[in-house]
């Protein structure tokens, strides 16, 4: 039915195009001059038919599931759903949906069968209604557009106006995405903070998100203090930055000031490869190669190291960050005007003195901006830590221990089936909100530094 609707939409649009173009051509054949070319008249009709109907169709398809579900729910016997938790409610709805597909398990209650029959009728009604609405819109637009065809009608301006509107809509998608991120995080976090006080989350030193699944189950009460989690994130980020910053900076200095053009031509793309490797691959590398190697060398020195040591996750994350830092530093060094370089060399400074005492200070804002962006990336990096770091949150800054991070907790809390009514699931959104805020602040700050600095020499 959906495919048919899209087909119908395309067919009517094409028909409108041909109809209006033909009408315009016949005006021209009648000896009158046209303001706009015939294809603009056709295009005007096609766009006028397609755009509103397409929007309605998409909205209908996204919303019909929810509306039908709500109608089924309200049609159920009054006592059917009382006292059920959201997971059980979902199960009942799934059972009704399966009954409607003819899959019967055991002997369902009568009201479930009635509901499934209602579901079938509602679905059919929705499809036909959608088609009817679609037909009405397209027909109205077809007639409207056909009536506009006249020798003095400014069809090109009409078409360009619609296209302009479409392009504005495209630009707004970026804003909608940000709004969607902020709204979903804030909304779900607000529900979390209605269950767990904000002060406990921000200042608690205990993170144990295990909560009882049923009321009679024996389990921890659940503790949601994020300090050990953010501390673990900081430990891994610090390790990664300590490794990546010197390596990235020194390679940038070498490539920019010392390397021959041939070396640069080979080395830069090789570094770019490191940046293009998916993070899940780095995670596997950490588990397969780096962590065992670190553990063996540590035990050779008689040091006990946790299998999920922060060192492995941080070290591998550093490999990912090297090309990032190096390319930012490279750009910053290249942006320093040649006159500064020449001046320093002409005064008798060696190349290394020129780099360290003249170019580096001039490039420092750009380099710092790059390092900050790399840091925000390390904080938000997920797969490497999910695979290589630990799950238990402990208040430790020992890099040999196992630590957990914000992103690890988000993923482990949300993997598998999730229901949105317990603090365990919602805690992930609270962590996500914190992650978003922290990285956003760093990013805005870093982008501002980079931009400000570029303006100085341009």
């Amino acid at each position: 039915m959906t495919l048919f609707a899209f087909g119908l939409l395309l067919a009517v649009s094409l028909f409108g195009f041909l109809l209006n173009r033909q009408a315009a051509l016949s005006i021209r054949a009648g000896g009158q001059a046209l303001h706009s070319l015939p294809q603009f008249h056709g295009g005007f009709s096609a766009l006028l038919i397609f755009v509103p109907a397409f929007v309605v169709l998409i909205l209908w398809l996204t919303l019909q599931g929810n509306v039908i579900n709500a109608m089924i729910l309200s049609g159920l016997p009054a006592d059917a759903m009382t006292g059920l938790e959201s997971g059980q409610r979902q199960l009942v709805m799934a059972e009704i949906a399966q009954l409607s597909r003819g899959l019967t398990f055991g002997t369902p209650e009568d009201w479930k069968i009635a509901a499934s029959e209602r579901l079938i009728t509602l679905r059919a009604t929705s499809s036909w209604l959608m088609l009817a609405v679609l037909a009405a819109i397209t027909a109205a637009m077809l007639v409207f557009a056909r009536k506009r065809v006249a020798s003095e009608f400014r069809a090109r301006q009409g078409v360009e106006g619609i296209i302009n509107g479409l392009m504005i809509a495209c630009s707004v998608v970026a804003i909608l995405t940000t709004a969607g991120i902020v709204l979903s995080l804030v909304f779900e976090s607000a529900r979390f903070f209605s269950m767990v006080p904000l002060s406990e989350f921000l200042f608690g030193t205990n993170w144990e998100p295990q909560i009882p699944m049923r009321a009679d189950q024996v389990a921890g009460a659940g503790a949601f203090g994020w300090l050990p989690v953010i501390l673990g994130t900081m430990v891994i980020t610090t390790i990664a930055m300590l490794v990546a910053v010197p390596i990235g900076l020194f390679s940038a200095i070498y490539l920019n000031e010392f390397a021959s053009a041939g070396v640069r031509k080979v080395a830069k793309p090789l570094l770019e490869i490191l940046a293009g490797v998916p993070t899940v691959v780095y995670g596997f590398f950490a588990v397969l190669t780096v962590a065992p190697a670190l553990r063996e060398s540590a035990s050779a020195w008689g040091i006990v190291m946790s299998p999920n040591t922060a060192l492995a996750a941080g070290g591998v994350m550093a490999i990912m960050l090297i090309p990032f830092i190096s390319s930012f530093a490279d750009d910053a060094l290249s942006a320093v005007p040649q006159s500064l370089r020449d001046g320093s060399l002409a005064l008798g400074a060696t190349r290394s003195e020129t780099v360290l005492k003249v170019l580096f200070p001039a490039a420092i804002p750009g380099i710092v901006g790059g390092i900050l962006l790399a840091m925000s990336r390390a904080i938000g990096e997920t797969m490497i830590v999910v695979m290589a770091a630990g799950l238990i949150a402990t208040m430790t800054i020992n890099p040999l221990d196992s630590v957990t991070t914000v992103t690890v907790q988000i993923v482990t809390l949300l993997i598998g089936d999730t229901s949105f009514d317990n603090p365990k699931t919602l805690a992930a959104f609270a962590l996500g909100l914190m992650l978003f805020i922290v990285t956003l602040v760093i990013n805005v700050f870093a982008l501002r530094i980079v931009r400000k600095y570029r303006e100085v020499y341009d």
């Binding site: 495209c170 995080l185 691959v281």
Partner: protein, 426 residues
């Protein structure tokens, strides 16, 4: 430096010479540090690739065994073929294949064959009932431990207690090898099978299809929307607070952690809109939102690179502003746009975290037939396999990573080719 700028300095003095030597040394130190840093980076790249290749190449072959199964009429009822004891038939075949062993012992050796053997035999006979009463010859994969043994990954010299395969099992396998039953062909199942709990049967078909549908959705959404937004912002938008705001917004969106996009997908697409879990379509939606900033930024750069003289010439000939853009500027900028798009899609292909959050890490043994079926994607499949305890999945994970990297290298090579072939210097 301050010493020698003093005009009393005598250039030939030992002090001045020592100073010069020190300064030259610091030059060498800095250069050495640079070379060292680069070497560490390349060493890591080398280690990464070599550890993947050294563990992964074994998974591109699979040990198979050729067996004769006697489908006797008394054991298979033609009226109800599927209900026959197919496991027993496989065990009987093992008794025939290992004449030197006690029948009871030989029956236990049916574990050499993959678990799929009995089902393949059943399906074959169900499809062709005339096989009842005949002997069917079939080549089936061996189970994972024997595959490892055949590839030399199980050390025969370790004490029997610590070995996964005991002495009689190895002896039985060696007998079968000596009979010429064991082959090691190219592992086509890696591409043609969907996921499985058994390493010898697990393949990437579901993941490849899932990634294909997700990338297709991503491309169909992000490409037109990204170009539309970029054209508007670059060519038409008035310079005011709103367009500044949109621009800052896009730059920040490009740096938002990917897991946050996963949270967005979970809360908005799955929870609010009730879209299906684990569906490549939803994965594609989330990836499209992530790829959008990349495409917009690349498109704007490509549009900016088209010289103003092109626009002025077209305007001068009477084209409208939109005609200027769509007839002249956009075609000239297309190579740059396509390059940026392919690079954005390559990033999307390797993205894992957001797909995990919308449930594309489910265990699904059938390839998706449409973008709305449950499925995994290549990176999430790698994550699942990396988490699996069976030994055979280690090399499969590496092999899957090599497949993923192969796609990424191809996409980037296409992008580089496009850039070098069509890019114009004005």
């Amino acid at each position: 430096m301050t010493d020698i700028s003093n005009h009393n300095t005598r250039w030939g003095s030992t002090k001045a010479k020592a100073n010069l030597a020190r300064r030259k040394r610091s030059q060498w130190v800095l250069q050495g540090l640079g070379i060292g840093a680069l070497s560490i980076a390349f060493l890591m790249l080398f280690l990464l690739v070599s550890s993947l290749v050294s563990t992964g190449w074994q998974a591109f072959t699979q040990t198979h065994i050729k067996m004769q199964f006697a489908v006797s009429a008394e054991k298979v009822n033609p009226d109800n073929i599927a209900a026959a004891n197919w496991r027993g038939l496989v065990q009987d075949a093992m008794v025939v294949a290992l004449p030197g062993m006690e029948p009871d012992e030989a029956r236990k050796m049916a574990g050499i064959l993959s678990n799929a053997a009995q089902f393949r035999l059943r399906d074959m006979v169900v499809a062709n009932p005339s096989l009842i009463g005949q002997t069917v010859e079939m080549t089936v994969p061996t189970s994972d431990p024997y595959d490892q043994l055949n590839k030399g990954l199980i050390d025969r010299n370790t004490p029997e207690v610590n070995r996964r395969l005991k002495d009689p099992e190895i002896a039985a396998f060696d007998t079968l090898t000596a009979d010429g039953r064991i082959t090691k062909p190219l592992n086509t199942a890696l591409i043609t099978n969907a996921d499985s709990r058994f390493p010898e049967l697990a393949g990437l078909k579901g993941a490849l299809m899932g990634s294909f549908y997700a990338l297709l959705t991503c491309f169909l959404l992000a490409f037109p929307i990204g170009i539309g937004a970029a054209i508007y912002l670059e060519e038409f938008a008035p310079k005011n607070k709103i367009s500044d705001f949109i621009e800052i917004n896009i730059n920040n969106l490009a740096a938002v952690p990917s897991v946050v996009f996963g949270l967005l997908g979970l809360a908005v697409f799955l929870n609010w809109f009730g879209m299906p879990r684990s569906a490549p379509f939803v994965g594609g939606l989330v990836l499209a939102l992530m790829t959008l900033p990349t495409i917009i930024i690349a498109t704007r750069a490509a549009l900016k690179a088209v010289p103003p003289s092109i626009r002025e010439a077209a305007l001068g000939l009477g084209a409208s502003r939109q005609q200027v853009v769509f007839h002249h500027v956009l075609p000239l900028a297309m190579p740059g746009i396509l390059t940026g798009t392919i690079i954005g899609l390559a990033q999307a292909l390797g993205e894992t975290a957001p797909l995990l959050l919308i449930g594309m890490n489910a265990f699904i043994t059938a390839a998706p037939g449409s973008p709305f079926d449950s499925s995994t994607a290549l990176p999430t499949q790698i994550f699942i396999w990396a988490d699996s305890p069976e030994r055979g999945f280690v090399s499969r994970t590496s092999a899957a990573i090599l497949v993923l990297l192969g796609f990424l290298v191809t996409m980037n090579a296409v992008a580089i080719y496009l850039r070098s072939r069509f890019e114009r210097k004005w």
